[in-house]
């Protein structure tokens, strides 16, 4: 009896590790799509926005425009890749039916989330760091608060991987899988201060922008580089934690009800 109740409480690391390894192996196999293509498109943004616009706007808050957009570009990749990695990772087994094995394995919901979201978040963090390294070859970069930079990176990756996980479970077809990243995440990121500071906007748009969650993430992340931000770092951090909590609650609810996983 003791061994059973002991069992019930024990974390199935073996399973999490198996899921995690499996997911990371998928990345290795699809290296082109997973890592290289986001790096290429980020470089393109650099060339287009950095040099085309950068030649007109020379400096923002004492930072060259090229350096200014780096945090925003990293965030852009981080958000879209976290969402698409995680949503695909759970949607695909649902689609081809292999999810039966995950549902029938002695693995708790927490472990499933840790495995999938962990792998998706780690992938996009690695990607973010690769973009950072690439960018540092093009423009001179300084990172004022490296610890906070990493914290924002991890918080954001995990939160949006969670969001992706939720989308993957919710989606009934590939169209639904694409619609959120395409119609919600990307526009919010573009409008969230990737390429400008909020005070460059007309006052009314500055107000509206405050409803955009991505503003807080980009602002906080940019602060960790330059020490300047649109909103105070404390608020950014609080918001990032709030979004994470919202994601966790939603995932908890999904598993509690079996929503779209178990009929």
């Amino acid at each position: 009896m003791t061994s059973h109740s002991f069992n019930r409480r024990t974390f199935n690391w073996q399973a999490v590790w198996a899921l995690f390894k499996f997911e990371m192996a998928r990345t290795r196999r699809t290296l082109m799509q997973s890592i290289i293509s986001p790096v290429v498109s980020t470089c393109l943004y650099f060339v287009v926005f950095g040099s085309a616009i950068g030649s007109r706007i020379t400096e923002i808050d004492g930072v060259s425009y090229g350096a200014f957009i780096v945090p925003g570009l990293i965030m852009l990749s981080l958000l879209t890749q976290s969402v698409s990695n995680a949503s695909f990772a759970i949607y695909f087994p649902k689609f081809i039916g292999t999810v039966y094995e995950i549902l029938s394995a002695p693995i708790s919901y927490v472990e499933i989330v840790v495995g999938y979201v962990g792998a998706a978040a780690l992938k996009s963090i690695i990607l973010g760091l690769i973009i950072l390294a690439t960018a540092s070859l093009i423009v001179p970069l300084k990172i004022a608060h490296p610890g906070m930079m990493l914290l924002f990176l991890v918080l954001t990756a995990v939160t949006f991987a969670l969001l992706g996980f939720i989308i993957g479970i919710w989606a009934k077809n590939f169209e639904q899988l694409q619609v959120v990243p395409l119609l919600v995440i990307t526009p919010l990121t573009f409008l969230g201060g990737t390429f400008y500071t909020l005070d460059m906007l007309p006052p009314i748009w500055q107000k509206i922008s405050l409803f955009n969650p991505v503003v807080y993430l980009i602002s906080g992340f940019r602060w960790s580089f330059s020490g300047n931000s649109d909103v105070s770092v404390g608020i950014s951090l609080a918001m990032a934690l709030l979004f994470l909590a919202m994601g966790l609650v939603t995932v908890w609810w999904i598993f509690k009800t079996g929503y779209r996983l178990k009929q």
């Binding site: 059973h4 069992n7 998928r26 394995a105």
Partner: protein, 329 residues
Amino acid sequence: MTEQNTIERNAPADRDGGTGGDDPIVQVRGLTKTYGNGFEALKNIDLEIQRGEIFALLGPNGAGKTTLISVICGIVNATSGSVLVDGHDNVVDFRAARSLIGLVPQELTTDAFETVWATVSLSRGLFGKPSNPAHIEKVLKDLSLWDKKDSMIMSLSGGMKRRVLIAKALGHEPAVLFLDEPSAGVDVELRRAMWDVVLELQKSGVTIILTTHYIGEAEELADRVGVINHGEIVLVEEKTQLMQRFAQKRLTLHLNEALSEIPDSLTDFRLELSNDGNTLHYAFDAKGERTGITKLLTGLQAAGITFRDLDTQQNSLEDIFVDLVRNGA
């Protein structure tokens, strides 16, 4: 540490001693399942699977076989009722319950781009077992998949994919194995090979529950047979008992003149007289040493009963099955 516990619990030597002894290894009580669209797929199912047996679940398409298995394995939530696996509730104590179960699903649901080796290793990991390449090698060899271990699953034939699914389930050394239509789309030779694997597993102490549409398969393998129809269990019986019914033949005599009653001299034969008195039925064991037919005919002659025709009918498991399913409708 967890693994240690699981392994010990799964070890055949421990299985008989441990929690169980003679209790059923799977106990389903008052199970109902109503799907989201309001369809009642399982109606108050009670079922007990004995340790170490091979149980064949028969039933027409849509009877609820897959639904029942899915609920036991935790893929589909029950609407009410409970499932105990080796005494562990499959919801409250899902870890202990599920770690004992292996499932080979009906549909060929496999990854496409993974190798056979990777997918079987994943299964083992998901079930919390430490990696054991020797075991996986043995499983793949038993299922004649060894030379395909590094092939992408996509490149395999349907029958090979079915074996990959079996390998995935065996990869984590389950104590209870569910095979949902293992012989669908499998050729005769492979079916034989699979039966050997199943019987071999039973010898090592694994309990096996399989669904099938081939009655011959149930006859070949099962210790007990259950029939499900319209979400209800309509029969659970030892196969040998069923086979006795199967071995029974019926001799029907079409009489020249209607009888009002069976003469006393013939009571030993336990004959049945039809309502109109025109036919006599005699049941006998076709596999027995003496069928009693000669005696019966002599007796009839002595009693002055004559007949113009006679025929015999075999009572097959198939007949029993068809009967049950029709009556249940």
